[in-house]
Symmetry: C2
Subunit: 352 residues, 2 copies
């Protein structure tokens, strides 16, 4: 985003603008991850958070899927929960899953959290921005680098539930018992995340993705009250600073909220496998909105031939109109065989 430098492999940047490309660009959510032995080799030297906070090593694992699998974009290695620690809500990954020692449950705890401005973020999350710089210095202008952040509802769900959740009972309890406190929390997150992403663009990210992974777990009315307005605020604030910024919005489970996702201001919607890709593409046709997705990550656990067949099927449903980025519908799973990930990527790259 920083420069007018032309990126050599600009397929994804074009697709995000709904411009024609020779073939669909492809990358995989969570592509710098445990399914790669090369990632595991580095990961075993560091805790997960220490790896996030080590720019040279974080850059190294970010670049791995590009070097090993030839994806069309590098997404920086990090975690959506990283900016919460300097806000006052520390998370640990010691057990493999995120865990908050002090889940946010009361208005007093919400009050105590600190929204961070750009200068505070540039200090407390300096490692994030250094990682981008480091990736850029490794890959030069070969391929785009993507930044990302969690959206307020999804971040709040981890902070309030204390980690992952099955039913989101704690965040909904706060939302329905004390909507005022909930909105305060979402506003603090929204202020922080907007600047967090602006700084990623400033430091060299070529595009960004906002993950509102769990926003689909509530009613459509609640989505409009607790998720959409904060997505809109973040996207609008980024566009004030970078009018041309490409912003992708991801939700896991979009079937009932595509209409509202369109209102977010994002220029690309990243969708899961439970929707018909052809229907989604036709839903956004003529709106200049790109679609990203939507391979079921579990399909990578089938046979190599089933991966090839299902990838071709996805491409057929995506059709040939510009504005399509091949990807998974959720992060790649640790037990995926690398050869299956490669079959997915290569089937897309052979499609022209």
């Amino acid at each position: 985003m920083t420069t007018a430098t032309k990126i050599k492999n600009d397929r994804i940047l074009k697709a995000l603008r709904c411009e024609a490309t020779d073939r669909p660009p492809v990358w995989m959510m969570r592509q710098a991850g445990r399914y790669l032995p090369e990632y595991q080799a580095i990961r075993k030297q560091f805790s997960f958070l220490d790896l996030c906070k080590n720019p040279p090593k974080a850059a190294e694992v970010s670049v791995q899927p590009y070097e090993i699998l030839g994806v069309d974009a590098i997404i920086m290695f990090s975690d959506i929960l990283v900016p919460l620690e300097p806000m006052g809500s520390a998370v640990s990954f010691a057990t493999g899953s995120p865990k908050f020692a002090d889940p946010i449950r009361t208005p007093e705890q919400v009050d105590a959290l600190k929204a961070l401005d750009a200068s505070e973020l540039e200090t407390s999350c300096s490692f994030v921005y250094e990682t981008i710089t480091e990736i850029k210095s490794r890959v030069k202008d070969e391929v785009p680098v993507l930044g990302f952040a969690g959206a307020p509802w999804t971040l709040a769900s981890y902070m309030i539930e204390g980690g992952g959740s099955k039913d989101f009972a704690a965040i909904k309890t706060l939302s329905y018992q004390n909507p005022h406190a909930m909105h305060q929390l979402l506003q603090k997150l929204s202020d922080t995340i907007a600047d967090y992403l602006i700084l990623k663009l400033k430091h060299g990210a070529d595009a960004v993705q906002l993950f509102d992974t769990w926003a689909s777990m509530m009613t459509q009315e609640d989505y409009q009250e607790f998720a959409l307005p904060y997505q809109q605020k973040i996207i609008a604030k980024i566009r004030e600073k970078y009018p041309e910024a490409s912003i992708t919005l991801y939700v896991n489970g979009v079937a009932n909220i595509l209409d509202y996702m369109l209102q977010s201001g994002a220029n690309c919607l990243s969708v899961d496998w439970r929707v018909n890709l052809a229907e989604v593409r036709s839903f956004v046709a003529d709106r200049n909105i790109a679609i990203q997705g939507n391979f079921d990550p579990c399909k990578l656990l089938g046979t190599k031939q089933s991966v090839i067949d299902e990838t071709k099927r996805m491409l057929e449903l995506a059709g040939n109109e510009p504005g399509y980025i091949a990807n998974l519908g959720h992060g790649i799973l640790p037990m995926v065989p690398v050869e299956n990930a490669r079959a997915f990527i290569e089937t897309i790259q052979a499609n022209s």
Copy 2:
């Protein structure tokens, strides 16, 4: 189902047939459960499975929500995993969640499972049918008694994953690597479950509900391959024996599969809170299909006033056409205050 006896409170039976009622009938999925102190008092004397296998006590907890909250239907206390033990796949609830000591992962394990016919079920699951008889003898012809079962995909997910799952990676791995073995398993489950439900009707259940809770977690194509055909087989087999049987199909996350649920042969679709109830009702209008749902169980964790307001909102969306049964969109949670469950029920009962 056994008799032509007129049930005094027949609201739900009428609504299931899309006939007019004075007000919408209401019950709550998992209504015989831990949110009730009266249930807990009995539950602490028995393990979960021992309570399922004790007809007088199972009948007692089944009747509690009718006596305490005045719901319009009694659903028998049991668990969808109960018929799997005599098939050869034993489950334990010792930790509070279902856990299979030997998850099904290979074709050999599928081969070893036994599909049960009616006479085997009547012996091995006698306690299930005795519970229905016991409930009937307690409530006479006052109120309908509902039976239920898990659908093949959902039962298979527990058997293969070994319990609950976040990503359903194990069942999908088997499905994509060895679809033949998967279909064998689903067929055995389907044969067993059809007879299991037929016997519930024979022993006095006035209607049944088929839970395919997790069938929404796959692609639409997979739903049509792995879920729909087995729902259809079960429902068709029941209707061969009991042409007038009322069969409700529940899935948690119906937004992308309503079309296919309609093809199941069920006369009532039980839907979750992430769809717009007015849209769903208008989707099935003129098809003689009833709709059940769709209150977010987490909404019962709000204030009493928020429960009342949201219940009224649900009723407005449901509209006044016949064929609507008020219910939750998933099972009631253990931490729900009884007074909030009562506010939900009473708000519906006041609506005429």
